[in-house]
C-alpha cells in the first residue's frame, strides 16, 4: 500500500504535535511494510490556487503554477491511503494543508457527476483509496471537533474514499497515537 502523509502543521512550536503524529504514522506504516511518502507542507513552497481552472481546461491534469505542489500531486495520484495531519483551525484545516488541497484539483476532472445523490467531480486517478485525517487541539472543544469530523466526511465523499477515519488528538495524547495508527492502518489494509 502506498501511504501518503501530508503534515499541515506550522513549522514553529505550534506544529510540534503534528510532527510527532506524522513521525509515528510514518514509523507504523514502514513497520508494516508499506511505501510511505511524507511531506511537511509548511516547509514547501506551495502558492495559493488562483482559481484559473487551466488545470481542467487548458492543460488538463497539470497546474499553471510551478512549485513544490507538483511532487505532492504525483504522490496523491499513486497514493492508496492518504493521511492528513492538521491543527484544527476553527473546526477546519490549517492554511498549509488547505493550500495543498486547494491545489489538488488537477487530479480531478471538470465534469459533474452524481455520487450518493449529490453533485461531485469524477477523479482523474480513480482507484480504491482511503482517507484518514488527524487533527490536533490543545484541549477538547466539542463544537470544533464536530465540524472537523463533518468536514472529513464531506472530503471523503468528494474523494470517493472507501475508508474514512478522523481523530482529534489533544495536548498530551500524541504519545498514544502510534497504537491508534496501528488499528487505522489495519482497517485500511482490509478496505483497500
Amino acid at each position: 500500500m502506498n501511504v501518503l502523509i501530508l503534515d499541515g502543521g506550522p513549522r514553529d512550536a505550534r506544529g510540534a504535535a503534528c510532527r510527532k503524529i506524522a513521525a509515528a504514522t510514518a514509523g507504523e506504516g514502514r513497520a508494516k511494510g508499506h511505501a510511505v511518502t511524507a511531506f511537511e507542507l509548511d516547509a514547501l513552497v506551495i502558492k495559493p490556487c488562483q482559481g484559473c481552472f487551466a488545470c481542467w481546461l487548458k492543460h488538463p491534469g497539470t497546474c499553471a503554477l510551478r512549485d513544490d505542489q507538483e511532487q505532492v500531486l504525483r504522490a496523491m495520484a499513486v497514493g492508496d491511503l492518504w493521511v492528513w495531519i492538521t491543527p484544527v483551525t476553527f473546526g477546519g484545516y490549517s492554511p498549509a494543508l488547505k493550500r495543498s488541497l486547494d491545489r489538488s484539483i488537477p487530479n480531478i476532472l471538470p465534469f459533474f457527476t452524481t455520487r450518493q445523490g449529490e453533485s461531485h467531480h469524477p477523479l482523474r486517478y480513480a482507484k480504491r483509496r482511503g482517507l484518514i485525517v488527524l487533527g490536533t487541539l490543545p484541549a477538547a472543544d466539542p463544537e470544533s471537533e464536530r465540524i472537523f469530523h463533518d468536514l472529513v466526511r464531506r472530503n471523503a465523499l468528494n474523494l470517493d474514499s472507501v475508508l474514512t477515519g478522523s481523530r482529534v488528538v489533544h495536548d498530551g495524547e500524541e504519545e498514544g497515537i502510534a497504537g491508534r495508527m496501528k488499528g487505522l492502518l489495519q482497517a485500511a489494509e482490509e478496505a483497500i
Binding site: 482559481g51 492543460h59 491534469g61 476553527f90 492554511p95 476532472l109
Partner: protein, 227 residues
C-alpha cells in the same frame, strides 16, 4: 455605521464572490451605511496591507466575508486571514492589539459551483466557529449554489433566473439595516436552485467541453500526467 466586505476569492474583484458581496454591500450603502471593501489577496500582500485590513475591521460594525467553496470549505488564504484576525483578537504574542468595538456582526456569503447548497455546511460552520472563538457576533450566512450561473453578471439585470438571489440579498440587507441578523427567509431564498440540477449538469458539462475545444485541449481532457 460602517460595513466592511472582505472578498475571499483569489480572483478578487473579478469573482462571483465579489459580485454577491458587493450586492449586499450596495444594499447596506443604500440604507445609509458607509461601506468599505478589500480582498484577501490584497490584505496578505504586505505588512502595510495587513494593518490596513486590521484598521478596516476595527472600524466596521458589520463585516461581510464573501468567498467560494474550495474543497468543501474556505480557500487557504482566507483561513490564513482569519487566523491573523483571531491571533490579534486573542492578544497573541507579537500581534497588534485589538481595538475594535464590542458588538461587531459577522456575515458570511459562500457560493459553490455545485447545485446543492448543503455542500457549503462545513464552510458556514467554520465561519460560525471563527466568530465564536474570536467574539464576533455571528449574524448568519447566505449560501448560494450554481455559482457558475451567477458569475460576474449584473444581479439586477439578469432577470428571472437570479430573482431569488436578489430577494435573498434584499431580505438580508433589510434585516441587517434594522440591527438584526440574516433571517431564515433570506437563507431559504439563497438556497433555492437557479435551475433543475440535471439541466445545470448538462449546461456546465457542455460549457467545460466547449472551453476545452476552444483551448485546443479536447483530446487531452482525460490525460493522466502522473500515472
Amino acid at each position: 455605521m460602517k460595513a466592511l466586505l472582505i472578498v475571499g476569492s483569489p480572483k478578487g474583484k473579478a469573482s462571483t464572490s465579489y459580485n454577491l458581496g458587493r450586492g449586499l454591500l450596495g444594499r447596506l450603502e443604500a440604507g445609509g451605511i458607509e461601506a468599505v471593501e478589500t480582498t484577501v489577496g490584497a490584505a496578505l500582500k504586505s505588512s502595510e496591507e495587513r494593518h490596513r485590513l486590521y484598521k478596516a475591521v476595527d472600524e466596521a460594525d458589520i463585516i461581510v466575508v464573501s468567498f467560494p467553496l474550495y474543497v468543501d470549505q474556505l480557500p487557504a488564504p482566507l483561513i490564513q486571514t482569519l487566523e491573523l484576525l483571531a491571533d490579534r483578537k486573542r492578544g497573541a504574542q507579537g500581534a497588534t492589539p485589538w481595538a475594535g468595538p464590542l458588538a461587531q456582526r459577522l456575515v458570511a456569503i459562500v457560493q459553490c459551483g455545485f447545485p446543492e447548497t448543503s455542500q457549503t455546511r462545513p464552510a458556514v460552520d467554520i465561519m460560525r466557529q471563527f466568530a465564536r472563538e474570536t467574539g464576533f457576533q455571528w449574524a448568519g450566512a447566505l449560501a448560494f449554489g450554481m455559482g457558475g450561473a451567477v458569475g460576474g453578471r449584473s444581479l439586477e439585470k439578469a432577470g428571472g433566473m437570479l430573482r431569488n438571489v436578489v430577494r435573498a440579498l434584499d431580505t438580508a440587507a433589510a434585516s441587517l439595516l434594522s440591527g438584526g441578523l440574516v433571517p431564515v427567509e433570506a437563507e431559504a431564498l439563497a438556497a433555492k436552485p437557479l435551475m433543475a440540477r440535471r439541466l445545470y449538469h448538462l449546461a456546465a458539462n457542455w460549457g467545460f467541453r466547449s472551453q476545452l475545444r476552444k483551448h485546443g485541449a479536447r483530446k487531452r481532457t482525460f490525460d493522466r500526467p502522473y500515472s
